[in-house]
Symmetry: C2
Amino acid sequence: MYDIDLPKNEANFIPLSPISFLKRCQRIYPEQTAVIHGNRSYNYAEFYTRCRQLASALVDRGIRRGDTVAILAPNTPPMLEAHYAVPGIGAVLNPLNVRLDAETIAFILRHSEAKLLLVDREYGQVTRDALNLLDRSLQVVDIKDAEGFDDRLGEIEYEDLLASGNPDFELSLPSDEWDAFILSYTSGTTGDPKGVVYHHRGAYINALANVAAWSLPNRPVYLWTLPIFHSLGWCFPWTLSLLAGTHVCLRKADPTEIYRLIQKHGVTHMCGAPIVMSMLANAREGETITFPQTVKFMTAASAPPAAVIERMEMRGFEIQHVYGMTEVFGPSTICEWKPSWDTLGTAHRAALKARQGVAYPSVEDVAVMNPDTLTPVPADGQSMGEVMMRSNTVMRGYLRNPKATEAAFAGGWFHSGDLAVMHPDGYLEIRDRSKDIIISGGENISTIEVEGVLYRHPSVQEVAVVARPDETWGESPCAFVSLREGTRASSEELIEHCRSLLAHYKCPRTVVFGPLPKTSTGKIQKFVLRERAKALRPEKSGVAN
Amino acid sequence: MYDIDLPKNEANFIPLSPISFLKRCQRIYPEQTAVIHGNRSYNYAEFYTRCRQLASALVDRGIRRGDTVAILAPNTPPMLEAHYAVPGIGAVLNPLNVRLDAETIAFILRHSEAKLLLVDREYGQVTRDALNLLDRSLQVVDIKDAEGFDDRLGEIEYEDLLASGNPDFELSLPSDEWDAFILSYTSGTTGDPKGVVYHHRGAYINALANVAAWSLPNRPVYLWTLPIFHSLGWCFPWTLSLLAGTHVCLRKADPTEIYRLIQKHGVTHMCGAPIVMSMLANAREGETITFPQTVKFMTAASAPPAAVIERMEMRGFEIQHVYGMTEVFGPSTICEWKPSWDTLGTAHRAALKARQGVAYPSVEDVAVMNPDTLTPVPADGQSMGEVMMRSNTVMRGYLRNPKATEAAFAGGWFHSGDLAVMHPDGYLEIRDRSKDIIISGGENISTIEVEGVLYRHPSVQEVAVVARPDETWGESPCAFVSLREGTRASSEELIEHCRSLLAHYKCPRTVVFGPLPKTSTGKIQKFVLRERAKALRPEKSGVAN
């Protein structure tokens, strides 16, 4: 009875797309500041017009539905505009990581079949090299940023391209909300990068879920320390249009500049990798500025160490810990804070906050499972399994890589590749990437657990633990440590510190001091450290522990 | 390229349904209070279990996907539970207006082909009468509410039904998010009631949009003065699960009880018709209790008069004005408040707040259009047109009423039947229901405009203006007025008041004093007043104005 005469029509079924949020916002809040970048700022009417002009100009240059448009730029206005204009003509935006080398860029441009590249002039040289490696030509648009560099490369400048576009051009919604709209390559620590294909539907839903997850108010002032090219900027390019918020752009995460912008523009919210947090927490006098507001800071990747959280809170930040990855539109679990935890001691609170938590409001199900049997591990805080998800905020799959796509979706769950335990209260805690785990004498050692203990030593600024080949044990933990300025610590002291807090087989046998290699998004490059650990002079472990 | 090998699968495409919000919430917040009713309260674990038991028991009684389950109950726990349990087995819930007469109930039960009826014993007699009118038998479940009445009717009591259900029964998501899940009949001021068919998709989206529209925090305490049977309770039955909020139930809107519950439970949010607002604003000493928090109050239907807003704000409420109707899942426009309006004078602010505003975050488009040409009227604050919408939060259509469905969706827009003007700043303001407008001497007169002026008279408590047949002018405005307690005013005085503020042709020629007839949702029944106006002794108007 209910399926007779009640079909979808134009009035009651509209493809979900985050483009709708900008269309609505500019109608209601044309005069509200949308974007601030250096001395320039655009209100929503201007920002929308710029998006329309870009869209129109791309059509004039032959870009059509399903074509790929690449962009290599830091967090500047063109980056935000491209996130609306390219999907707004049914094309697919491919934001490139600004730290990539020429070879990888060439690989991606080839694999994505990009028809046009927008490139900030800071990245002129690497792009030139990449284009030389490419076996075909490509339309290139230079972005000359007043705040940036001047290495001319392409046939037209971004602002001239915009000026050629029609300011009344209509951004269109996709014909199907499942349409591809962004393509983002994973950093590919091993093998070729994989191209994650995103759909409009997921971005619409996660942009809304961000509001519920973080209790976002109307008109937040949001500082872009998180690279927008990284996991869709966790969908905040669109969440802000939903709330008529202000984007504060930033070319490069620098503590002095971040503090200055927070104070100058009254920033209320920001997202960032742990590296940004420790940068802000460890900033010296002269680099910091005090500000009257509380700045909400959403962080992901590795668990925030207690000491960093404390120092951040003293400096006016309130930390929200989430977890996610490129494949899932940004955050997909959140460490929901319970009021009853407020009164616990600092260490206990930090331990709770370090957990990756529970499903994000948009996520249907998240589980820690045995990847072979697809059964959940016991929720005992001990048994490790792989984090798996089902959500409308999971990617369509990897572009032209059916094998990887199939593996990622084996058994009807998205396999994150991260190992975790489930606590009795239903909060999960990441223990390791599958490939990072150390197997020593047949026992699994969570490198994150060992790192957490090392972080509690007062001299440790940053640490990464990786497997080192070991004749007796197969592998043994090797710690790479950078020390806090003005402090000292010996290998023996750090190992002793671990032995007082951990089962002895989990403790590092080797400690190497020095700065740690990082990816563009602030993640420590463990694969580099694993190579270094392999190259160390072979060590013969004793059996006594 | 993007459509190869990247289909939907179980991991990345889940039908949107608000049932997901409860499943998530009870996992994260099992111990959080979900429902308070009198001296009872249920935490989310208990609430979810009750929903599962109800779902299981309904299956045991033969209810299947696509079957209709009716419920006649005020805002009590069973009402909330039915909103999850019935859709959770793929069936369709049909909440009945508690003010309906037996004949209308019988009509609806017949039209909806309801297989089972849950009925609060307060409505035993009217149900008995309705069932006697029905040409078939029906399973009836009595709801004996400790706070309520005791008129036994059905074959089993609600709590016994629950006890018979399996507490581990799994609520299922729909196979398609477009599936019908609630059926709600419009009050039908003329002709038979029409059955509005809602889909899961729209409720999921509007439940999320409520959070963004109202900047809802986590764990709000929400008092149910708005009848849940009315427009899905504006989707708040599900929004609260998204935020782990607490439902405070209420059988009947009574000012003393409302103030008591606000204070006792620390209520933070409530929705309600203007009648509830004026009840609270006009409550006498002894009926009110002061409370420390600010209570956010979302209201719709008619524009809140300035005096009522002021009095409400003095008493600790903050008013948010929205607009919607049964067909659009509750709110679909919102009077978004701009910070620059804060400093305006009281009258100016009230005039701005009285406007119905702009698209709700979930609404794709709202326009004021000429219904014949489907072109927008000029945004001049003067030209009247019909409010039309396109949104994923528009109904599927009217059940078994293709003619009405077709008319509602003519030209690919949902026709609201409300007449409005569009202001130059893009905010719309309702001027009348299509059927309420007065045409006098060929001029349209907005009854809402005339009412607004009458509300500014200090003695006027409530007013409704309708058309009265007039030999000279075709129609003329007739005002029905109830006066504030302890005040007096003559017809002449009120008419003179109008003439000082309005074009003379818009002023009432007749004023009738006395209480106004209302629907169960607090709307003044203008069709009753139109009949009364018609029945007045014919008046011969002079031509001089």
